[in-house]
């Protein structure tokens, strides 16, 4: 058998899951889709003393419209369900676009939306997308008041979040995007479903004069953690998103905001170079979509 021994708990309600997590403390770990965790356990890189399996809690699986016009997604909703949800496609077309890049179809059938975010793999698409979309994460713990954490504050390091051992991510809320907002994800990897050599996601909003009103851009695979660009808003906000302005963002962000590594799959110079290209592609398409109404 590949993983080391562990104790197994299969609660059937959120309350029971939180009781179990509180009892186990540092010994316990939440099992969501398991598409990263079980792989790590098979390598014995992860050796949790006990798993609290959330797969028998149907109440954690849903995609619900919020009164504000956004969506609330239950933590155990499969990535495949998000990828194919008309509700998601209508409000946040960026998500199905990104989902195609997440591992493979069989992994997306089982892997969960909340699990991927809580796993905080810096190479994972969903942690980055949760950050660039500023998703709101609901954290529950036994005897604790529910707390909401913005995704950029949730992820504090590679595979590290502010979720305590006795807590779990229960729901993710995505607030509606303003009018005239467009988004685009761009990625380069060696093969479908492989790790990104570099990737860029942009979300931009235009004002009534076609100036850039807001821009959020995240750079992935080119640093220890995904990087939310500040150069993009410095250069673009209040101005026309001309080809020159977009190229200036690409130049400056690729020069000063990223810290790519050299490894078997590519050199730092190569990653810097494709980041520059992906920023131009991502912003150009995002603005084109914003112009068409998003």
């Amino acid at each position: 058998m590949k993983p080391v021994n562990f104790d197994y708990y299969a609660p059937t309600s959120v309350e029971e899951a939180l009781d179990t997590l509180a009892e186990l403390g540092y010994n316990g770990k939440v099992l969501a889709g398991g598409q990263s965790l079980i792989a790590a356990m098979n390598f014995r890189m992860a050796r949790p003393g006990a798993l609290v399996d959330l797969n028998n809690i149907p109440e954690l699986s849903y995609i619900k419209p919020t009164p504000e016009g956004g969506l609330a997604i239950g933590t155990m909703t499969r990535v495949y369900a998000v990828e194919h949800s008309p509700e998601v496609a209508k409000r946040f077309p960026l998500l199905p676009e990104v989902a195609k890049f997440i591992a493979h179809p069989q992994i997306r059938r089982r892997g969960t939306f909340g699990g991927a975010i809580a796993h905080a793999d810096p190479a994972g698409q969903l942690p980055s997308i949760s950050m660039v979309m500023n998703m709101k994460c609901l954290i529950k713990g036994k005897g604790k008041e529910d707390r909401w954490v913005d995704a950029p504050d949730l992820i504090i390091g590679p595979f590290m979040t502010v979720i305590e051992p006795d807590e779990m991510l229960a729901e993710v809320v995505i607030n509606p995007l303003p009018a005239r907002t467009g988004a685009r994800y761009e990625q380069v990897s060696r093969q479908n479903g492989g790790y990104a050599q570099a990737a860029v996601a942009s979300i931009v909003t235009l004002d009534e004069k076609d100036n850039c009103k807001d821009v959020r851009m995240i750079l992935m695979g080119v640093g220890e953690l995904p990087i939310l660009s500040t150069k993009a808003s410095e250069i673009l906000v209040g101005n026309k998103p001309t080809t020159e302005a977009i190229e200036a963002v690409a130049e400056e962000a690729a020069a000063s905001e990223i810290d790519p590594a050299t490894d078997l799959h590519g050199t730092a110079e190569y990653r810097r170079s494709i980041t520059r290209v992906l920023i131009v592609r991502s912003l150009t398409e995002a603005f084109a979509r914003a112009e068409k109404g998003g």
């Binding site: 590949k2 562990f6 197994y8 299969a10 792989a39 098979n42 591992a103 179809p105 069989q106 059938r109």
Partner: protein
């Protein structure tokens, strides 16, 4: 040996009641406990796709699910498709189009593609290639696999 859990799981229409350790992978349960060795294990960390099975009708990696999690669920493996005398149409197409060389990856490809063809009766080549991007053929015989899927799709839609 750690604590064991009783599970009741339906595999290819038959109910099995067994005691399992939590750390037993579903792939190993199928092969070692049930003797259903049609499900192959390659990488055992979710990359190669050889161990793909249907879990409540959905194609998933059996190496990334614990057997204990299959309790109360319905599993289908490659053994459920056809027999040597009566191959499943997709198996027949794999045979006709020489879509297998060593055959190690084939069960995973088949179990990925059977539900795919149900959902996409007339798939484009791009759709087929996307559907199998999570399955590795170490003989690199992808051209023939794509041809076999196209062949099976044509046969299956004619039969309807």
């Amino acid at each position: 040996m750690s604590q064991t859990f009783p599970i009741s799981v339906t595999v290819n229409g038959k109910v099995y009641n067994r005691e399992v350790e939590p750390r037993l992978l579903l792939s190993d349960f199928l092969r070692h406990d049930l003797g259903l060795i049609g499900t192959h294990v390659g990488c055992e960390h979710g990359i190669c796709g050889a161990c793909t099975i249907l879990f409540d009708g959905e194609p998933v990696r059996s190496c990334l699910i614990f057997a204990v999690q299959a309790n109360g669920h319905e599993i289908r493996t490659v053994e459920s498709l056809g027999t040597p005398d009566h191959l499943h149409p997709l198996q027949q197409s794999f045979k006709d189009k020489h879509a297998l060389q060593c055959g190690f990856c084939t069960p995973g490809f088949l179990m990925t593609l059977v539900p795919f063809l149900e959902e996409h009766p007339n798939p484009s080549e791009d759709e087929i290639r996307e559907a199998i991007d999570g399955n590795i053929c170490r003989c690199t015989g992808y051209e023939k696999i794509v041809e076999a899927v196209e062949d099976a799709a044509a046969k299956l839609s004619q039969a309807k």
